[in-house]
Symmetry: C2
Subunit: 80 residues, 2 copies
């Protein structure tokens, strides 16, 4: 069993209203030293055998990320 | 500037229909060696000054995660 993690985040130039909503709520918690909050998706893909980064990249391209507005990073976090 | 990342995932015993939908689509891509896909949220909190893990934990507890169905992990990824 091996796990590949794909982190999908909005591109920096794309507005993130969800993150903005969290950032706007922080002063009410007394937090004033946060410059920005961005919220994306973390996808954990567990392979039955060895981690296959190329496969995971194909999955990310076709199913997980919208290349117009999102970037993703991919990595193996747990080997068999 | 320092970045704290909070990974919020559904607890293992909670069904993840979004991840299941991706897993169900994989055989159509010719991918048959994936055991499971889980989809959660990745939150990037950029502090203006030093990373404050305790603050970030408070933000996660109050704004980012629902402790009934979600677990989170928190870490500093970038120091000043």
């Amino acid at each position: 069993m091996a796990r590949v993690v794909v982190d999908v985040m909005l591109k920096p130039e794309i507005l993130d209203p969800q993150g903005q909503a969290v950032a706007n709520a922080l002063p009410r918690l007394g937090v004033n030293d946060v410059a920005s909050v961005r919220i994306g998706r973390r996808v954990e893909i567990d392979f039955a055998g060895d981690a296959d980064l190329e496969r995971a990249r194909e999955i990310a391209d076709k199913l997980l990320a919208n290349p117009v507005i999102e970037d993703y990073e991919i990595r193996v976090v747990e080997a068999a």
